[in-house]
């Protein structure tokens, strides 16, 4: 197995030096923090491969635009396309737009992942893990704090039209549905559109009711940080509240370092980025690839945060 891997990577390496490949990539949006880390990592990695020309475009969360971008890539004769899909339920349309040109889905799982043609593949993390890891850790922390008799809290959703947001919130509800964690009650859930400043205002609105609470779960780090800023501004002691999010961004890790932030989840941008480019190159070379490559999420707490400081 190792030998074949080595052999294939050698083939890829020699292949890339001999020819010049072009890969076109389209991302759901350029202003998303985590996707930016992914994008920049991919540009960097592509630069290390001789003869590879790599270009990326912004679909601005517009599926129709993204399909046009894929068609444009095909028309301009790229050798492979990488897609961070805007709408995961539109896999069939995007796959069809690519035709025979090799295509790799990155980061978001299209609904047709099990019916992908031979020239297409998928590299990402399994979104069900992220929300679950975060919420379950908060549940354990609350138990450790002696709150197993009943704990209340708030849930901050990302953009309501976004699949990852919907999935992560569903994960939270699933965790709370488990016997071990059903002592947790969500007082209210609202969207703060992934954004820190909206989360500040939302948290302040919630606190204006004066209802006591024990935890805040957010679909991403930015909203969790916004909630923390609002709670600190209101004079709350962050030791009394469990706050959980997803991303393990640098801002989040520094908040964790001073004890304000309790739980986040690391999504491996380097693994996804290099994995998708490698897979694209192997598809160009006409090799057989794994249709689905899952890069695992990792739980991040104050205990292991040091390992992630310079990763995202």
């Amino acid at each position: 197995m190792k030998k074949t891997l080595l052999a294939t990577s050698l083939v890829v390496l020699t292949g890339t030096t001999a020819f010049s490949e072009t890969i076109g990539a389209t991302f759901s949006r350029f202003d998303d923090n985590w996707l930016t880390v992914l994008r920049n990592g991919m540009v960097e990695y592509a630069g290390t491969i001789d003869g590879l020309s790599y270009q990326q475009e912004d679909a601005t969360d517009d599926l129709a635009k993204q399909i046009d971008q894929v068609k444009n890539f095909v028309a301009s004769g790229v050798d492979a396309i990488i897609v961070n899909i805007v709408d995961t339920s539109a896999g069939a349309a995007v796959s069809a737009a690519a035709g025979d040109t090799p295509l790799v889905y990155v980061n978001r799982e299209p609904d047709n992942v099990n019916e992908l043609p031979a020239t297409q593949a998928f590299v990402a993390s399994n979104e069900i893990e992220s929300g679950t890891l975060s919420a379950f850790e908060i549940c354990k922390n609350l138990r450790a704090d002696g709150k197993a008799g009943g704990a209340t809290g708030y849930l901050m959703n990302g953009q309501l039209s976004n699949q990852a947001a919907v999935q992560r919130s569903k994960d939270v509800h699933d965790v709370i549905g488990m016997d071990m964690c059903n002592f947790m009650t969500i007082i209210d859930e609202q969207t703060a559109n992934w954004s820190r400043d909206e989360a500040q205002d939302l948290m302040t609105n919630w606190m204006s009711s004066g209802e006591p609470f024990d935890f805040v779960l957010a679909n991403n780090d930015e909203m969790a940080i916004g909630a923390i800023q609002a709670m600190k501004a209101a004079g709350m002691d962050m030791a009394d509240v469990q706050v959980g999010g997803v991303d393990a961004s640098q801002d989040a890790l520094l908040a964790m370092a001073v004890g304000d932030y309790d739980v986040t989840v690391f999504q491996d941008s380097v693994g996804q980025g290099t994995g998708s480019i490698d897979t694209a190159l192997r598809l160009i070379a006409g090799e057989k690839v794994d249709k689905k490559v899952y890069i695992p999420f990792v739980l991040v707490t104050p205990a292991n945060m040091g390992d992630f400081m310079d990763k995202n």
């Binding site: 949006r29 350029f30 202003d31 998303d32 923090n33 996707l35 930016t36 880390v37 994008r39 920049n40 912004d58 309501l160 209210d188 859930e189 609202q190 969207t191 559109n193 992934w194 954004s195 820190r196 400043d197 500040q200 205002d201 939302l202 302040t204 609105n205 919630w206 606190m207 204006s208 009711s209 004066g210 930015e222 940080i225 916004g226 800023q229 501004a233 209101a234 961004s249 640098q250 801002d251 520094l254 370092a257 001073v258 400081m309 310079d310």
Partner: protein, 357 residues
């Protein structure tokens, strides 16, 4: 130039019909909306008889729920600052769509000059410039932001006034350019970790302080200065304004510059409040700012509108946002309600105008 021809198409001004100013209607609407939420707090079974505005849990010294009063205005203060500028633009019969992305671009620029070198003992992981740009006095990022805003406004105004590009098109173009600048500035990466002094200009109730101070200043400027009278005159009848010797082109450039500087200032305060700058900030702010002015009784055809109206329009937004969170209804309902209120405000206003004429 008499103040009397505001938006009435040159009809003579009848003082008796002005006894009930438009702003009173908005205030009335605001009170009605508050009463509705107050009733819902009592009527909805899951609300356990909570009060919207009053201190039903005995947490404060006053009879009011001070925390809620504060957040109602705090959450609209930053868009409110933009609305003060767009109000002036709309009074000249123009429009400014570029303010939301300008907020993001200015936030990036200001925050890059407001960073601190060490964060909890770690070197700042988001540093944009070198050590020379670290721990600068707070005035530098603020002034840099305002200069950038003034430049954008001058470009908007010049194309509109001197090249006769329709304001909608000129500022739509600038909308995209500014979003592009915001994304390009740090390649989409957030810029974070400002100095304590920079944070302090957006901390706590500071955004409200800036919003209300600027509102008072511009209320007086629009009402009692030559700048204000010229602004209304241009919006009422641009040709007549020109005939009466107003330098219409130069004045328009000035109005767009002031509007963009206010939006840029909003961007600075927003980044200080969130202690981060991100390329996606300020999304839809331009439309919310216009909506605040519209609820405040402004006429998109120019010549009519006021700062007091816009401030009340902003309050309507704040009350609705807090009210929906209070009764635990999610964002989708808020948008539907706000949309309905915007349309209702214009319908009522037009009905009123027709009766007045």
């Amino acid at each position: 130039m008499e103040e009397t021809s505001h938006g009435t198409g040159g009809l003579t001004f009848d003082k008796s019909k002005r006894s009930w100013p438009n702003e009173m209607n908005i205030l009335l609407a605001l009170i009605i909306i508050i009463v509705i939420f107050e009733i819902l707090g009592q009527a909805l079974p899951y609300m356990k008889d909570q009060s919207f505005l009053f201190d039903s849990r005995d947490r404060f010294d006053s009879i009011f729920n001070e925390a809620r009063l504060k957040i109602i205005i705090l959450q609209v203060a930053i868009i409110g600052i933009i609305a003060l500028g767009v109000t002036q633009v709309i009074i000249t019969a123009g429009i400014d769509l570029s303010s939301g992305p300008l907020v993001a671009a200015t936030a990036m620029i200001a925050m890059s000059l407001a960073q601190t070198e060490l964060v909890n003992g770690y070197p700042n992981p988001k540093a944009v410039f070198g050590v020379w740009a670290m721990d600068l006095p707070v005035i530098i990022p603020v002034v840099a932001g305002l200069i950038f805003g003034a430049m954008i406004g001058a470009i908007n105004g010049t194309f509109i006034a001197y090249f006769r590009i329709p304001p909608f098109i000129a500022t739509l173009g600038m909308f995209m350019i500014c979003r592009g600048i915001a994304l390009w500035w740090s390649g989409g990466n957030p810029v974070s970790f400002p100095t304590e002094s920079f944070k302090s200009i957006g901390a706590g109730m500071m955004p409200v302080f800036w919003f209300l101070s600027l509102a008072v200043i511009f209320h007086f400027i629009l009402k009692y200065t030559v700048y204000g009278k010229h602004t209304y005159a241009i919006g009422s009848n641009e040709e007549a304004a020109r005939m009466s010797g107003i330098n219409v082109k130069r004045h328009k450039v000035l109005v767009y510059m002031i509007a963009s500087m206010l939006a840029a200032f909003a961007g600075v305060i927003l980044s200080a409040k969130a202690s981060t700058a991100q390329a996606g900030m300020g999304e839809f702010y331009e439309l919310f700012a216009i909506a605040m002015a519209v609820i405040g009784g402004i006429s998109l055809t120019g010549g009519r509108g006021s700062i007091i109206g816009t401030v009340l329009g902003a309050m309507v937004f704040g009350v609705i946002r807090s009210g929906f969170t209070f009764v635990k209804l999610d964002g989708s309902y808020q948008l539907m309600a706000m949309g309905g209120i915007i349309i209702a405000a214009v319908v009522l206003d037009q009905y009123r105008q027709r009766n007045k004429a």
